[in-house]
Symmetry: D5
């Protein structure tokens, strides 16, 4: 079950730099964990913003909510969740891209 | 160079069904062509809407615009283009998912 | 898996009355079918509008999209889909209300 | 008399954790009280947000306002109140679901 | 039970004048009927627009919806319904104004 | 000369309770004064919000602005002012309601 | 009593040119009439749009509404009415500008 | 060269009263200076808000920006600048109003 | 005197292709004329839309409005006009880029 | 590869003046550096706002994001990035303007 998340992050500029660094470090660690377990499938930064698009896979809505709300930066995030289904064209594309992924970008 | 496109389609309900079918058929053929050439990397339908999210790869902005504006349904589309860059977490995820893509979903 | 749908319907005022009646009849029949099969759990009209809130249950996102996009009035609808999970307070409430539902409203 | 409430909660991130915990505890106790007395009929969390949809039943608008504005988190809430009436399809659905509620979800 | 309605009317400019006149006549007749029965308590035109604010009294939400959706211009209206309760200051004001209403404006 | 005001009040949650109480007390006293002098004709609370709709009568725009901007909570208010005129249906309604106001609500 | 009006005009592009010309001619004649009688005090076109800002003076809200809604292009206008009062600085400015108006712009 | 400015002012309520008074005094002095030199042609308060509409005349865009951004309250202002040109009806109106300005309002 | 224009074009999809072609041809001819005379300084297409950003230079606001409203596609355009002034950094950049413009892109 | 950026800056009014000055100085130095290296091609101030439009050239989206997010004022900026391509009319205009840039404005 796939979901597109658009996440906009608003860390208050006046937060001490050390606190910001620690927060970001914990955020990255959590993201890595989610990637390793296959929850967070893909994530891209949005150019010129502190924001990202990401594709999540979760067996239940409860699992998705638990993962997302456990992100260390969650209290500073504005999140839009969009449920996705495969487009007829997707299977073709996924097969093709999986073999190509190693040399891409 | 990657871009997220959110496309909302508004075919007028009063368009004759035969015309709608022909338009959709041409749209699907064009999408398949873009997938085969590696321009349209991924596309998901948005649940409950005639809309989709898609990830495009293009060597130049000119190439992206040419492909998008040549879609047969372009006159009926509202399109938001968001330039993307890889998130530090992406490489890890892409390597992992490319091998997993065959058994996924 | 639960979803809240807010649906706003815009039938063009100039549609002939007979066509409107037939469309509404088909819509009601489809809704009854979805209720009987347990997909459409609850539906309320919004006072003063041609709009409604409804709670849907679906095993997959694909199933939800198929059901929603097969509604006869779908081409005239603006739909917002919100994924829901139970609130800690819900189980208590559901147990309590299921026995009370017969005499309610 | 039924109402749909969409409630978005904005607890300031800088509120001390102990204060947040106490506030949430008081909120949950009040919600349980409203469920027990039959005012708060159903409540669902919105996935990925600190927000919820809920259905309230109240004999008067005054009673609804008193209950809602007495929620401990009321000063941190943005609330949209939508008056609801039964959809022709609702009675059928309610009868059917009340018996099914025990084995659901 | 009181409700504030903000109604914006959009009659298509190309509707034949005779049809517009008939529609308005029927609308006025219905409004008068609602005033006489005590459903439509007050109504004011908004300066510079084809729009109005009105206060409605209804024993149930079903009654309110039935009255509003039976307005002849309903298919051309955008309606916002806001449930109202008396402000502590209202009783004083109502008593005072009821005696003054004859000479006002 | 009549005006509809929609007022949304945003008292900062962190204001000390004693200060809030004093502010509200001063606000109520001023409102009562305006009612007594016939400036503030009617006021209703909006259910589920710290907000209200009110009808004001003023001989000049200057008088209206002076009264409104002298409200003790003015610095915390977002105010929309809509100039009103009588709807053809209003005179009938006012005559009818003035005699009925004593037993209403 | 002064009012600022922002008027945006949307004549349908498909209206026959002769009809557009006649409509505009009637609109200009009415505007001239309002200027001569002192209702329409000032009017400026907004650069790059079919829109304008204008200052109106009217003894009553009823008079303002009657004048505005009698504009031939009224069915094609979106109008925002903002009640104005003199700023302390205005009297000085008006005296100064009235003598300067002849050589200005 | 004429411009309409809509300015909304948001002085934080917690600013000490003495500071507010000083700021307003400096703002008024600057406005008077601009009126005297013919930059700020007209200014009206918006009823019920801390906001105004004003008409500015400036020989260049640079001059306009310098004047506006030198307002003491500039850091607390949200400003919309709309370039204006004379409406065909304006010359007639200006001639007429300049002689009438002494007895007006 | 410089202005940024954001122009969004909405040609109705049902306009006959021959008419669209003629309209676009006339639009291009007019744009070329404006470029040659130095009114339209720069124009860029927005990727994925029928829209553009352009920089215009005009001696007066009247001249700008005349040029813009004479565009053949003007009735199908939504235009936002933003007055611009040079940023301190601009002179440096302009000098540098003018010599570089020949080999760029 | 060209991009239009609209940047709105919100420095908190309560930031000490010395800190503001230092921040602006660092911002200007960085902008000059970007101009010298050919990343920041053009920048204009928006009249009446602390905001600007700017045209950027970057070989990759990564390069653009790195430059933009390294601006000292980045934490106080709201940025909209719009990918641009040349309009057919652009080459003509660029050639013409590069020779004219020395005597312009």
């Amino acid at each position: 079950m796939l979901f597109m998340l658009r996440i906009d992050v608003s860390i208050p500029p006046e937060m001490p730099q050390a606190e910001k660094d620690k927060l970001r470090e914990r955020e990255n660690a959590r993201a890595a964990e989610y990637i390793n377990e296959g929850t967070l499938i893909r994530i891209w930064r949005i150019v010129g913003r502190v924001a990202n698009f990401s594709v999540w896979e979760a067996p239940t809505l409860e699992a998705l909510h638990d993962k997302v709300s456990a992100l260390p930066m969650f209290p500073y995030m504005k999140i839009d969740v969009t449920p996705l289904i495969n487009h007829p064209a997707t299977e073709v594309a996924e097969a093709r891209n999986s073999s190509a992924a190693v040399r891409k970008k």
